[in-house]
Amino acid sequence: MQAKPIPVPDELTRPFWEAAREHRLVVQRCIACGYYNHPPRSACDACLAQQLRFEQVSGQGRIYSFTVMHQRDVPGFEAEAPFINIVVELNEQPMLLMVSNLPFSERERVRIGTPVKVDFEERGEIVVPQFRILDP
């Protein structure tokens, strides 16, 4: 069985992964116009400014969509299938989307619009942000 894929941070993305190691969720934001860019860009998607910095965000959002993958052909996830992927729309900005997993035990609770909050999964040499359903 293969281990789950390890991200290879580059000069654009290193702050994201370093913050995750400290259990903080940061998103690249444009200093000029305030737009959040994710994945990080070399110039702002909204205004093309190059003055960008990483800011900590609330880590809260809602489930934008979800799927349950049954095929055992996703690298590192062969043994895990079926497994849940959600896309989270962060509260900070419309269509500011991040991919996450949910534990399979949440299968009956996963719905579009459900509030979620970031958590952090230790995975050997890295830490991966993972969103979890926010209990009322």
Binding site: P5, P7, V8, P9, T13, P39, T67, L97, I112
Partner: protein, 396 residues
Amino acid sequence: MSSTRGRTAIVGIGYSEITRRSEKPLGLLAVAACRAAIDDAGLDPSQIDGLTTYPESPFAGAGNRDGIDVVSVMYIVNHLPLAADIRWYAQIETGMIASPIIEAANALIAGACEYVLVWRAMHRPEGRPRVGTSGAPRAPGEAQFMAPWGCTSIVQWHALAWQRYMHRYGATREALAALAVNSRRNANLNPRAFFYTQPMTRDDYFNSRWIAEPLCLYDCDVPVDGCVALVMTTAERARDLKNPPAYIAGWGQNTAPRRTLLHYALDDYMECGGSLARKLWRSAGLGPADMDAAELYDGFNPSTLYWLEAAGFCRQGEACIFVHDGRIALEGELPVNTFGGSLSEGRLHGMGHIAEAVRQVTHRAEQRQIKDAEAVCAIDGSPMLRGSGIVVTSSP
């Protein structure tokens, strides 16, 4: 209506064998399809002086060895004796297979060449590529925001978009079942289709296994090894050839800026698909109501629904209702994917759709022929991602 309307035509169609996995390398399948298309047009290979293709691998990371995974312009130049001096070629990397057809039409109108060969060769690779051989796979670049969560398969991205569509419009899987069963029924009348001899019922659809919920096996096209080729020329030259010409009335490509840059975000589909449709209808001088059939891309089943709305065949959010009550059947008011689509003919990446549009307007569609068909559109791609399309007509 534009000055390009009816000035070029598709005059030959060639299919290689279409099988799950061919003993022949892809390059030889492409040569066979090209020879068949030239022969169908009643031309000699030495008359072909233009070449174009869309040589994309079936999925990212699937390899791009020429003649094995893809078939480039240079592969055909090296393996098929054509005109001594090829006057024009283009290898298109955006849009989909209608995009090289659009470029070929422009080249013919400009007088850059006389007879163009267009092909799309599709290979079904063995399994999924592995990133590295031991230890954890590495995820560089944009993959670092998808692969660590196992969200790297195109079918997962389509499932995310379709889940969102169902949520937004209250659609159910019944719409996809109706499309899949309609396509299979048409494929049972298409001797080239992978599923020619296998019927499928609504129950078969609902009993099939999940791939990525809410998409099941029959929402995914059937991967095949094969190639389809076409011959194009000017309207003047087309009149002297053996087949009735399928005149190219108009075309369009997706050009709207995408807000999200993410394949799976449904939200852009009307805007991006609409950017194609507006140009398509304006250049053709025709509209959705003039179409005798619509061949709409179905690499994954929901894309057909999105195109029905984005191209204006029905209103936004209503395709899931439109596809019922026999409306999209061969004898219905708008026959859709009359050859079986990629779902049931095989994954030819849009070329099957174009070949069928040509057959219908030239009245060469065998048992599937729509009576007096005069205008048919073929649109490739998924509207929120990319796409290109053409309208073909039986008169210029």
